[in-house]
């Protein structure tokens, strides 16, 4: 699909060496920043523009970015920070690494504009620990930007100073939770903080901090260059702009696709080459492993945007679309998902520490033919006791796949328990 107005994120992809500063600049990169710095655009104007764009957080929760920015006590004296969450660890998600690999300067420019708007003099980009080459690429990009005068003291003679640091984690999924990420940057064990206080008032090193996802920051230059209205019009109301979808699973051409929000799922599936081997679509996890699964027929009626997917009973999340064909055993799939959350729970709070292992063990025994008739009720109950009871969203993330699977595919589980083997 051709995006009217051009891609937002991958606007350099048609160029050779798309990741280079020269490529980015030739595609209009850094012009927004230059304009802002030259005109000393007031922060309020920028925030208003972001609000107009209806840009919603691309990390999973879909929180309106303009609103988040307005929470930052900008006038407050003292240090403030902007932090980019590039700790993309959700199974199925692989978009942020491609942004950093193919168009790192979009992220850098977005963060500088954020720093300018929010009164921060420093930004941190926390990169997932298992993609070290991306970290190295980001380091080169930051160096390029610094050499060109976009980063550092007195940027482009404007009097505004901003430094950007890349920080790589060590591969813990929990460090993608924003407060665990802050702890990790501070050199502590990556464990979420309880909220309140929220990072906007007590963030990195206890200072006001705004944290956004990589894709969110990378959308900012376009919004400031082309206008919030234009960005909004790329998508649909309340779901502005384009979005990267990481399509994986049983499709012919898995990969990242930048499409307008509101694009029908069927179209996205087509772009990805359709179901592998011409088999039948069974189910889709539309927003990364923590989103509840949706049966294929429901998905085929959905458009890819926050509101449509939420209405269908799942969430757009980070935009990781995991496609499953008819050969997939849902018990086996859930066993794998539950194992992930069991393994990645940080162990800080009780329901998640104890409950994720319990859920995994129950699903594991069902998969291995040792399920008991009462197990499904037990899974319902354990998942309900985790959801909404934990410090961070990992508890919910662990419970939702279980709840989604049992909602739509309970009969498969019952079959497994009764016949001690798979339906498919």
């Amino acid at each position: 699909m051709v995006i009217q107005g051009g891609p937002v994120i991958f606007n350099t992809l048609h160029l050779s060496d798309s990741w280079k500063l020269s490529s980015y600049e030739s595609a209009g990169g850094y012009s927004a920043l230059k304009k802002i710095l030259a005109e000393k655009t007031p922060a309020e104007t920028i925030i208003a523009e972001v609000k107009t764009s209806a840009l919603r957080g691309r990390g999973g929760a879909g929180f309106p970015t303009g609103l988040k920015w307005s929470f930052m006590p900008r006038q407050f004296p003292g240090d403030k920070y902007v932090v980019c969450n590039s700790d993309e660890g959700e199974p199925g998600t692989f978009k942020d690494r491609d942004i950093m690999r193919y168009n790192p300067h979009a992220l850098i420019e977005g963060m500088i504009i954020a720093g300018y708007t929010l009164g921060a003099k420093a930004g941190y980009n926390y990169i997932h620990g298992e993609i070290f080459d991306i970290y190295e690429g980001m380091e080169r990009a930051v160096e390029e930007a610094r050499a060109a005068g976009y980063l550092g003291d007195n940027i482009l003679g404007s009097g505004f100073s901003f430094n950007l640091y890349n920080h790589h984690g060590y591969g813990a999924y929990i460090c993608g939770e924003e407060t665990a990420l802050l702890e990790s940057i501070e050199g502590k064990k990556g464990q979420p903080r309880f909220k309140p206080p929220f990072p906007a008032s007590f963030g990195l090193y206890g200072k006001p901090t705004t944290i956004n996802n990589t894709e969110t920051f990378a959308s900012i230059p376009y919004i400031m260059r082309e206008g919030g209205q234009k960005f909004l019009e790329l998508g649909k109301p309340n779901n502005g702009g384009t979005k990267l979808f990481s399509v994986s699973g049983h499709v012919e051409k898995p990969g990242n696709y930048e499409v307008s929000l509101g694009t029908p799922f069927s179209e996205l599936l087509q772009m990805a080459g359709g179901i592998k081997g011409g088999r039948k679509l069974k189910a889709v996890i539309p927003g990364g492993s923590s989103a509840p699964v949706l049966p294929g027929e429901i998905m085929m009626d959905c458009t890819m945007d926050f509101d449509s997917i939420a209405k269908a009973g799942s969430m757009l999340g980070s935009g990781a679309v995991i496609v499953m064909d008819e050969s997939v055993c849902m018990v086996r799939a859930l066993e794998r998902l539950s194992y992930f959350y069991f393994e990645e729970s940080c162990g800080q709070c009780t329901p998640c520490r104890e409950g994720t292992g319990w859920m995994y063990r129950v699903v594991h025994r069902i998969e291995h033919g040792q399920g008991r008739p009462e197990d499904l009720e037990l899974l319902d109950s354990v998942a309900a006791n985790i959801a909404g009871r934990t410090i961070c969203a990992l508890g919910d993330a662990a419970a939702m796949p279980v709840q989604g699977m049992l909602k739509h595919y309970r009969h498969e589980f019952e079959h497994h328990i009764e016949h001690k083997k798979c339906m498919v």
Binding site: F194, E343, G347, Q348, C349, T350, E354, T356, G357, R389
Partner: protein, 786 residues
């Protein structure tokens, strides 16, 4: 602006920032919890305190939810109970069902709450988690499989003890609370994590499997081990002290105890206890009945009094004896005509006796230490000598106070030290003089004569600058300074410095009942409550010119005196020595009569702590064997000697006789750190000096006999320490075995490098078998290769 909140239908108003947990507490509503503790930061990790909040989409943790105006909270609605029960089920699935063999049984928060919120059978049928044991050292026993990861012990280390010795390693279900690999817990406050642990993961090692909590009776007590006077909950079974826990008292020990206060009780049950009166007949010890022993003592004392004069009688008392005991002892001595009575066994400078106006004290309330914004500590091994006072000072620093030091040693204070001047013990005088000079010059006052032209080093200037600022200020004289032969000069200069900067002057106090001993009149210069009385020799004079008859009350001169060599020589030379002691000890060699008297748990009595607080207590257990409370023994001795005024029939009667009807008011009048000026000499010593502190677990007869404390890192046999520069000068390189000579004494000991020490100083702890033969805690030394 106050906020309105309704909890379970009850209304209240709270200040902004109050949590739902605190508000509920105010209303007397209990919300179940594990990780929440009023003295620790909020972790909100156990999730047991989930409650229903109107309009909230999910249950919220009461401990971490700030009250907002008009909030409506339901702690016992079906919704809340269901959330709490859900959490309880999670807590129990991996918790072992070993309550019958768990020491926490009967006093376990998890057990208690499981009764209310747990289910009688488990839905979890999988194998439970097992966690490998950790060795935390001799005091804390672990069973980490029982751990519920509330992180109270972790937060205690970080926030209270000041040193993070416990942490959480690994993730998720594999998460473990553990110390650093292969490290034990060595904090002097470590035992508190036992109290904090809501389950049986951390329990007391010395108490392990000794008794069940419901078999124990609880008695109130007061600790005699340091000048704080921590309140104790003494737990007893069958007439034996089984365990000691803190008795919460916010203004003294809060809810904490130092390990010394907590585990010293083991010494009460020592094999070494003296349980029958014994007399020496023809060089042989024989057991005697009380009548015989007391008659012998009375007749011998009378005989020497008549034959050689009353001035040949001397009494040395331990400052951990009660006010009543010390009072009757000095009364006995003075009625016999002798003022030779002293309790300041480790002191060596008595010039202030004639210059002082009352009893030296902390100069402020203990609870006010937290509120200081500038303070100076002079000559102290602060953390070891005063574990919980140090904690309060640390909290003050955490809230922004500036900590200054003039000290011969450097400890890890576990907090920011603003300025420090590290000087030799003798050099403290010059340093204080320099400080006085700097303060006077900064104020534009003429420099007091006593400060002369003392050098103002940059460190002293910085301390002066720091102390010149701030509002609430204190200068505290520690044990090292108090024991030093130039204590009087230090005190005089500190007083002047305090005057110049508007600080309060305090003496930290080296013993549990030092203030009480002065109030009781157990000093040669004054009688009880500062009254004039027969004066006599102080401990230094008595040891320099040994008396013919010595009465030792709770004293082990070989450990408790400033100069153990002189002390031993004095008691050995005495014609007659009677030792009133809970223990057999060195007195077996030199005493003629041994009378078993009660330690603090076996008698009623009174201690007065450093802030002047009068704390009376009852006996927690019956005296062991034939042991008798010392006040009774002294009273009967008074009767046998036909002395007037020995007819009290209770310790309370004795107390009222000394302290008067309003004891607290009387003692408050006595507290006074003011001294008249003494001659200050600024010509410092140019010799090799000893720094002789008393190690934390050698402080008194009871802790010296507490086996678990003696196995801690702090109780390791002493070695000598000196700076690398000095070692090099002495030809030691990095250290080695040395012969150290001091006066008449000498010792062969390992000498190690410690670059924190001032030049020309060797740090050699005293009050220990290994260093006893060296003599006084301070003085000139020579060091040679062994």
């Amino acid at each position: 602006m106050a906020l309105n909140i309704e909890i379970d239908g009850q209304q209240t108003e709270v200040e902004p920032g109050t949590t739902v947990m605190d508000a509920a507490h105010k209303l007397g509503i209990y919300i179940p919890h594990f990780c929440y503790h009023k003295k620790l930061s909020i972790a909100a990790n156990c999730r047991m305190c989930l409650v229903q909040v109107e309009k909230a989409p999910k249950p919220l943790p009461a401990c971490a939810t700030p009250v907002s105006d008009g909030m409506k909270v339901m702690t016992r609605s079906d919704y809340a109970i269901q959330a709490q029960k859900g959490v309880m089920e999670f807590l129990l699935i991996n918790h072992p069902l070993d309550c019958p063999i768990c020491d926490q049984g009967g006093e376990c928060q998890l057990q208690d709450l499981a009764v209310g919120y747990g289910s009688s059978s488990s839905r979890y049928a999988e194998p439970k988690r097992v966690v490998v044991e950790k060795n935390l050292g001799p005091l804390v026993s672990t069973e980490m499989t029982r751990c519920i990861h509330c992180t109270r012990c972790v937060r205690f280390g970080q926030e209270i003890a000041g040193i993070m010795e416990m942490g959480q390693a690994f993730r998720g279900e594999h998460a473990e609370i553990m110390p650093f690999i292969d490290k034990t817990i060595d904090s002097e406050l470590s035992g508190n994590i036992i109290d904090l642990c809501p389950v049986g993961a951390l329990t007391s090692k010395p108490f392990r499997y000794a008794a069940r909590s419901w078999e124990l009776s609880r008695r109130k007590g007061v600790s005699p081990h340091d000048s704080l006077g921590s309140n104790l909950q003494i737990q007893v079974k069958s007439g034996r002290v089984m365990r000691v826990l803190p008795l919460e008292i916010e203004d003294i020990n809060e809810c904490w105890l130092s390990d010394r206060d907590r585990f010293s009780y083991e010494g009460l049950n020592s094999e070494d206890r003296l349980t029958q009166p014994m007399v020496k007949e023809n060089g042989q010890w024989v057991v005697a009945d009380w009548q015989t022993a007391l008659n012998l003592v009375a007749s011998r004392l009378r005989e020497i009094q008549v034959k050689d004069g009353a001035e040949q009688l001397g009494a040395l008392a331990s400052p951990m004896q009660t006010v009543e005991e010390l009072y009757l002892l000095q009364k006995l001595m003075r009625e016999l005509g002798s003022g030779n009575v002293d309790h300041r066994l480790r002191q060596s400078d008595f010039r202030l006796d004639s210059q002082a106006h009352g009893a030296f004290w902390l100069g402020m309330n203990v609870a006010d230490l937290n509120k200081l914004d500038r303070f100076l500590v002079v000559g102290s091994v602060l953390r070891k000598d005063h574990p919980l006072l140090a904690l309060r000072l640390r909290q003050a620093v955490r809230h922004g106070a500036g900590m200054n030091l003039i000290n011969p040693v450097v400890e890890d204070y576990l907090c920011k030290v603003a300025n420090k001047a590290i000087v030799s013990p003798d050099g403290i005088v010059n340093a204080l003089a320099g400080l006085v000079r700097a303060l006077a010059e900064a104020k534009g006052e003429s420099v007091p004569a006593m400060a002369g032209n003392a050098e103002v080093t940059p460190e002293l200037k910085a301390i002066a600058d720091s102390m010149a600022g701030g509002e609430n200020k204190g200068i505290f004289i520690g044990n090292l300074a108090q024991h030093h032969p130039r204590f009087a000069e230090m005190a005089a200069l500190a007083q002047e410095a305090a005057r110049l900067c508007g600080a309060k002057l305090g003496v930290l106090g080296d013993s549990g009942n030092g203030v009480g001993a002065v109030a009781a009149g157990a000093i040669p210069s004054r009688s009880a409550m500062g009254a004039q009385g027969i004066t006599g020799m102080n401990v230094g004079e008595m040891l320099a010119a040994p008396r013919k008859a010595m009465v030792l009350l709770g004293t082990e001169p070989e450990y408790d005196c400033h100069d153990p060599l002189a002390a031993l020589a004095a008691v050995q030379q005495a014609e007659f020595v009677v030792a009133l002691s809970p223990y057999k000890h060195g007195a077996l060699d030199y005493a003629d009569v041994l009378l078993p008297v009660s330690p603090f748990t076996e008698t009623s009595g009174t201690f007065i702590n450093a802030e002047g607080r009068v704390q009376s207590f009852n006996g927690a257990v019956k005296p062991l064997g034939e042991t008798r409370p010392a006040w009774k023994v002294l009273r009967v001795m008074g009767n046998l000697l036909n002395l007037p005024g020995f007819d009290q029939d209770s310790s309370e009667a004795v107390r009222d006789e000394v302290l008067g009807a309003d004891a607290q008011a009387g003692v408050c009048k006595l507290l006074n750190n003011k001294t008249e000026p003494v001659q200050v000499t600024l010509a410092g010593m140019d010799k090799l000096e000893r720094i002789g502190e008393v190690p934390i677990y050698q402080m008194d007869a009871i802790v010296r006999r507490a086996p678990s404390l003696q196995r801690t890192a702090d109780a390791a046999p002493p070695v000598a320490r000196a700076s690398g520069m000095l070692l090099e000068k002495l030809g030691f390189g990095e250290g080695g075995m040395a012969v150290i000579r001091q006066g008449q004494g000498s010792v062969v000991i390992r000498i190690d490098r410690d670059d924190c020490l001032p030049a020309n100083c060797v740090r050699i702890p005293g009050a220990h078998d290994v260093t006893q033969s060296l003599g006084a805690l301070f003085g000139e030394l020579t060091v040679e290769r062994a």
